[in-house]
Symmetry: C2
Subunit: 273 residues, 2 copies
């Protein structure tokens, strides 16, 4: 999938919503626990109920890995289901990987070839040779953590290095890596005021924005400060959508929440674009 195709989907659907699949056996509706593969059954129902309202899905690999081989099988089924039924959706393995060169190559192979995701989230701490192996795959993207939406983001990401916050240094350095056109960046919405500066550093890149909703970010601010002329944003919502209800109506409740966000997005896109 290309970024042009992703931008087309955003225009077509009037949505830049990414639904995060944080599939948690402790939170999913109890009646699903009778299913042979409850994780997949839940993910599938959420996907079927929301696909026309979003342009991306982001399975959080930790929630699958927590169940070992069984969980990994559920992850495989989920990405295969997406690729077979909704090939126009952008898929993100939220795995936050990063290691030395030959190891990063293996992670890239795991997510891009074995599982056939469009993208994977990665961590910047180990630098160039930990990132570049993810950028060698045509039509695939690495989404680099820049400024995250959690409280701990202020421990290191906002420290001043050479007169600028570390996350800006990360953006500047990474945007010079080989095949940096295959990079996107995670930028938390809890700090929408930072988005203006971030856009100056990476004007053309897609930004994946968590933290709208559950973590307090404001959609309008994000769009005003963070959009480029192709929109260039994916706003993620996980728990706010997928756990809207834990009863038998969970899928329609998730749909209602996703629709609420899509309608806000539609409205804002009409205002701004």
């Amino acid at each position: 999938m290309t970024t042009t195709q992703l931008s087309e989907q955003i225009r077509l659907k009037k949505s830049f919503l990414c639904v995060g699949l944080d599939v948690d056996l402790e939170k999913i509706p109890s009646h699903l626990m009778q299913e042979e593969d409850a994780l997949f059954a839940f993910a599938k129902a959420i996907i079927d109920a929301t696909h026309d309202l979003c342009v991306a899905y982001k399975p959080n690999t930790a929630f699958f890995e927590a169940y070992g081989v069984k969980g990994w099988k559920s992850l495989e089924k989920t990405i295969n289901y997406l690729n077979e039924n909704y090939p126009n959706h952008f898929t993100i393995a939220d795995a936050k990987r990063g290691d030395i060169g030959n190891t990063s190559s293996r992670y890239a192979k795991a997510f891009f070839e074995d599982l056939n995701f469009n993208s994977v989230t990665i961590a910047p701490y180990m630098g160039k040779d930990s990132v570049e192996p993810f950028l060698e795959f045509e039509g695939k993207f690495a989404i680099l953590l820049a400024l995250t939406s959690n409280a701990g983001a202020f421990d290191f990401q906002t420290l001043t290095t050479d007169g600028q916050p570390l996350y800006q240094q990360v953006l500047k350095t990474a945007s010079q890596y080989k095949n940096a056109n295959r990079l996107m960046y995670v930028v938390g919405a809890t700090k929408a005021e930072y988005l203006t500066e971030i856009r100056q550093i990476v004007p053309d890149s897609f930004l994946l924005v968590p933290g709208v909703g559950a973590q307090g970010g404001n959609l309008k601010e994000v769009l005003e400060h963070g959009a480029n002329d192709q929109v260039g944003l994916l706003v993620n919502s996980s728990r706010g959508i997928i756990y809207a209800s834990n009863g038998k109506d969970f899928a329609s409740a998730a749909r209602a929440k996703a629709m609420e966000m899509q309608q806000q997005m539609n409205h804002l896109l009409n205002l701004i674009f």
Copy 2:
């Protein structure tokens, strides 16, 4: 496993060697490819051939994940084999995880409960709430990336923040986290001269030192600069040991390389302790 028990093993075996299990189907001896589970067969043979010479094993999860569900099964078999047959060895899931709180909790559950590793490597970029969930498990350890041994380490880790390199800030901040006594740190041996300062910041913690051998670090320098009075070091070697030969003699060749390192360690421990 406690650090006291690990220190006892180091004294007993006159070794602070960790064998890194970077099990790569493209590099393992071709005759093993006929095995039903070649990854596990290789890992098992290496473990059996080296267990009396080392105190720790570090399966690199990327190399297992690259083969999907099958690879995850091999990882499970490997850690189960270690726990059943060599319960006195310290086990490290080299996974370099890190995410927001509830996601980190899931990763911790995956590696500490589902797979029953003693420890897991984690990345610091997302700060406190990404690290602390790993420190909630008694008898388990998180090994935080501080200064890695790859070229990309100089992209961000050595940037100056508040008058000190970022990796020192990471050590200082992390050592204040809740249950920080369950933290160890990754410190690359290619920069042994930095170890003296690192020891001042975290005098009592174990350091996991990659990069001796293949990446050019010097064992004597590491011990001189990095040891505390309990040794407090695990020096990792992966490729230099496990791929010493790709013929039918691979296990005995790995043993010979491990013994070379153990003998150097024994000699140095006698000199210094």
